[in-house]
């Protein structure tokens, strides 16, 4: 496996950290080297939030990337801030519900918040984006994501269902 550097960015409350940890956990058993790194801890309310996940076949010297193969962008602010760090041949999956990005070859525009809202919770937009991503780049199998979701949300049935629904909606898109 090559090195895939993934940036996930959005606003506080959009489940950025949750999504990053989810991917890292899902990859743990099949990807030789994994790091997850959040931009901020809990001490700041609101504001922006982003995190990085690196999946790699060889040792990851620096867990801090400044260029990315993959981006999941959840809002406008993150789009303008981070897109310059996307590699030319990278892929950005963008929440077009909250982001006025123009279409471009390496961009996938996904009305994630809208889709999530229809599922009943705009906060699961993150899983919609992940579904779309994995449908294009099979970094980990959907089953491992589902397993990781179950492990993370086990007790909370309703939330789990909404997350799974959003993920599947994403996987099935286009």
């Amino acid at each position: 496996m090559n090195c895939e550097r993934i940036l996930i960015a959005g606003a506080g409350g959009q489940g950025i950290v949750f999504l990053g940890k989810l991917i890292a956990n899902a990859a743990l058993e099949t990807v030789p080297h994994v790091t997850y790194f959040p931009s901020y801890g809990a001490e700041v309310r609101g504001g922006s939030s982003h995190c990085q996940v690196i999946l790699s076949g060889r040792e990851i010297p620096s867990p801090v990337a400044h260029q990315f193969e993959i981006m999941l962008i959840l809002n406008e602010e993150s789009f303008s801030r981070f897109l310059p760090q996307l590699l030319r041949n990278g892929l950005a999956v963008i929440n077009s519900s909250l982001c006025s990005a123009e279409p471009a070859p390496n961009r996938l525009l996904v009305p994630a918040t809208q889709t999530a809202d229809e599922i009943g919770d705009p906060r699961v937009a993150n899983l919609v984006l992940l579904g779309v991503l994995l449908s294009r780049r099979p970094l980990v199998t959907p089953a491992r994501i589902e397993g990781a979701l179950r492990a993370a949300l086990g007790e909370n049935k309703a939330t789990l269902e909404r997350n799974l629904a959003a993920f599947h909606a994403g996987l099935a898109m286009e």
Binding site: A11, Q14, N75, E76, S97, L98, T113, P122, A125
Partner: protein, 75 residues
């Protein structure tokens, strides 16, 4: 001649965080959560039945985000 009072609610959609508190405390069901989203991706409250408003200020008082302003009009 009876003076009729009318109340004008303004809810700042960018301040509103959709906490539902105004709705919960409005006795007259003047306010409801809208389906539109503001720039932060949050639904926000809308005065859906302004004509029912009695200007009791319950909503403005409870709103944590000072999103609601109310004016009174006498006619």
């Amino acid at each position: 001649m009876t003076t009729r009072k009318q109340y004008h609610l303004t809810i700042d959609s960018e301040r509103c965080k959709g906490c539902d508190l105004c709705m919960a405390f409005c006795a007259k069901d003047v306010i409801a959560m809208g389906t539109a989203m503001n720039s932060r991706g949050q639904h926000y409250a809308r005065p859906t039945a302004p004509e029912l408003c009695i200007g009791c200020l319950q909503c403005a008082d409870i709103c944590p985000d000072a999103a609601i302003e109310i004016e009174e009009e006498q006619s």
